[in-house]
Symmetry: C2
Subunit: 588 residues, 2 copies
Amino acid sequence: MIEDVVELAKRRGFFVQSAGVYGGVSGFYTFGPQGAALKQNVEDTWRDRFAIQEGNMEVDAPTVMPEAVFEASGHLDTFDDMHVECPECGSNHRADHIVEDNTDIEEAESLPAAEVEELIAEYELVCPDCGTGLAGQVIDDFNLMFETNIGPGSASPGYLRPETAQGIFVEFPQLAEYARNQLPFGVTQIGRAYRNEISPRKSLLRVREFTQAELELFVDPEEDEPTLDRVRDVTAPFYPADEQEAADGEIREATIGEVVDDGTVADPWIAYYLGAAAQWYESIGVDMDRFRFRQHLAGELAHYAADCWDAEAEVDGDWIELAGFAYRGDYDLSKHADHSGEEFTVFKQYDDPVTVERATVDPDMSALGPEFGGAAADVAAALESLVERDPDAFEAASESGDPVTVEVDGETYEVPIEQTGYAVEEVTESGEHVSPHVVEPSFGVDRALYTALDHCYREDEVDGESRTYLALPAGVAPTTVGVFPLMDRDGMGDRAHEVVDDLRDAGLAVTYDDSGAIGRRYRRQDEVGTPFCVTVDYDTLGEGDDPELEGTVTVRERDSTDQRRVPVESLAETLRNLRDGALTFDDI
Amino acid sequence: MIEDVVELAKRRGFFVQSAGVYGGVSGFYTFGPQGAALKQNVEDTWRDRFAIQEGNMEVDAPTVMPEAVFEASGHLDTFDDMHVECPECGSNHRADHIVEDNTDIEEAESLPAAEVEELIAEYELVCPDCGTGLAGQVIDDFNLMFETNIGPGSASPGYLRPETAQGIFVEFPQLAEYARNQLPFGVTQIGRAYRNEISPRKSLLRVREFTQAELELFVDPEEDEPTLDRVRDVTAPFYPADEQEAADGEIREATIGEVVDDGTVADPWIAYYLGAAAQWYESIGVDMDRFRFRQHLAGELAHYAADCWDAEAEVDGDWIELAGFAYRGDYDLSKHADHSGEEFTVFKQYDDPVTVERATVDPDMSALGPEFGGAAADVAAALESLVERDPDAFEAASESGDPVTVEVDGETYEVPIEQTGYAVEEVTESGEHVSPHVVEPSFGVDRALYTALDHCYREDEVDGESRTYLALPAGVAPTTVGVFPLMDRDGMGDRAHEVVDDLRDAGLAVTYDDSGAIGRRYRRQDEVGTPFCVTVDYDTLGEGDDPELEGTVTVRERDSTDQRRVPVESLAETLRNLRDGALTFDDI
């Protein structure tokens, strides 16, 4: 079945492995005319739903980023897969996959490399390509970022971003200004991301270059909550962690309102986006009966993530991950704040200024200098740091008369309280610096497209002949309308071309076809998912049997193959309404 | 002036140097919310004009491509700049730029490296960063492609594509099938391209990662010609090679029809796209008084290009290249055909089959074998090759009785005519294989955006206060409508939010702002080029002085600052028509 989809994808221009004339390279795909249009439409509907309708900002950052970014994000250290090379044929493999594919062990990815080495020896596992035993081969951590050099020499390494998100996080200080420092605010990005897979497989599901659509929502962890109204009644299948762990666990249909109220989804922001995602996936053709939201098990969670849910779809008998929805806390921004030394906070204005007591020091350098020599400045700095962290230490010293103790470079220094200049002042504060938390819905565009193609693939019989068609929703189909003259003669071709121009002017994606029998032309459009076809015939020209049909054309619906006569005058509007869902075919 | 644009670009979210918190890396820019929206709109209008309206196919290929592609395209060998490293501070420079910037010599790029080395010594040129003399430093060819490794190890090098075009050329055999082997057909692609500049400069004009919009039109060199109708009357400034070389040469205004008729632009396809490009650049805000089409001089032409024109714009006193329009012949496809061994042709069906005489050979191996031993098979192959190339050689041998002479590996072999099996047969052919020629309009998206910003930057005075605004055309402005409540109270805020929802549902890009005085909110929208602002006031609610104004809002035009009252009911349609140019503000 999935083979049929992949074959159709190549034959009709959805996607092919790239550079096939040179043998291709695993993990790189080119979207042909149909696929590029479908992908564009999928991206546009995502943009509309997650950026425009939500009032979020969209940005567009480079795909090549400098090393400092990935030092901070942790990708340089930990974005690895376990790699083993065959000593005989030199082919490269994921060691954990070799274990998973040939033993009963699941999730070998989470085991230490040493243990995987032992398992390979114990089970006498072999190279999948040539059958040579892999026991004793070293398993190394292979970083999945593509590395390159920026400019001549190797002084300035760069990496192809493994996710679009970092291009948002590093610009946070600037973005917060654009948002006028008002939380919550959201920033989206649609663009390429890269993962240098050791051995890519499964067509578009595990590729080295792909497109992500990510949203980073920055919230005040103590204040912001979403209004759930827009998605409260959206229904979706949920598969929470406890159900996955239970012997008889099952997937439960529920509304967003229900899963928030009963605590199935702990964070309301996550719940909100699950609702929006369910609506969006359905709108692009994903079958909701082959779809679920699965909560990460405790062992799957990244250490910084409070909760995480995946959107998953069933494709070819497997559940594949389509999107992730994570509550990431302040992990990302605090990492970049630490590494860059810049502020990654927003200043939250209070409704009314508040007066607070603040402990301060003003070290007496004329005493510290002679006492500590070259270390005096560092001691003073340590005192300033201590009073912010632990003012009680000074309060206690004031009462007891003991000196204040600080540590500098492993040495302990004692400073009499009167030399610290300790004081408590009343200050008026107009607001405070808040470290925003991040809620991250992250979507894979290629996988969404692949799933929609698979879920929309249909075979049926029309007029006694078998037919293949893609039941893609009209809003994302690569072409909205196919326009045919019954034959390219007697002026029907010219008239059809006029119709094409009109429809294109109205912003519709139109294709013209005058080649072969009408039935064959319908089949061609069915196969690429064109929802509507228009035929210009003798009746249109007023030269048919029924003079009343002059100025009308036949509109044929893909799925039902039903036909209606529609005046050319209102054709563009009718088709636009059909595409946008403001009209059903039965309404005509 | 350009500094004002760059400052505005950063302050208001058009573009900033990326990863500024880590000090940034030259040549990489992030488009903020305004810039990303503007870029998206620029790309969409290009897609509409050069893909959809022309009926061309759009594809979407990977940015990482394998080495074989660039061996064939020539980029691996020749996509170089002259690099010199400072022996003192280690900074990297373009050697030709150092010569051009510090001597009267122009076009140092075209000189041999040895000559540039001599010039550096002769003029005692120094490192621009630290002033150390560069005489005696080696100038090497630095390849401008970013290199990386695909998968573990270095067995499979990959490169970030230096142009989107190669992603189209390598898929030609498949694309020709999608086009049902009918010439001409066009394929477009909008996407990232990369150029590992030695020392990037000039903001968005010379960057390491950028976006291209390219069109590859495949034509039958003996048959296809465009219909010029759509662009015949388009006027543009032309600067042909002869005018550039003349002492008193000048730029001439002319229509596309004129430059085709008088031969200024030799190839009508090129002329057609110059016309389309002039229309498009004007539609995105480029000032046609600071724009020209400049023909390449003979010395600038790539060796395979028959003719090439650039679109250029004046920015900050310099003419910068915006786009190139080249007639590339069969260079690209034949290179890939040679390197891959695949067919890069289309089969052109004749209207009626034709009968032709074809000379063939059928070498008598029972004679050649004993005579030539191990070389017999090669001799037979050489005979087969010769009869295709030069059947007259066999005809002459038949008449004279002399043997036929072929050469194999430098050795000459003589074969009696009767052993060659030479014959002339009548064969019926239904068509022929045609090697398409390529016409390539290639646009830089970032430069188009940068030029539009520069050309639309305005300062004037409104109500006695100075104002900065971007006179961007409504069709590309990041935001089409700003919606304001006069104040956020008495229900005006809620009503304004309803208006926002309505306008967004109608597909308009809308922003809401209730912060600060109305005048300040206008200024904010002026600065980012929002063409229309809508204000909801007491009159809208029916609570103003004039009850007739109930249900209407004020619409204010950016450039004129004129205002009109428009019913909320027809607001979306009015604004959509204003954006699409179906209505002018004076029509309201």
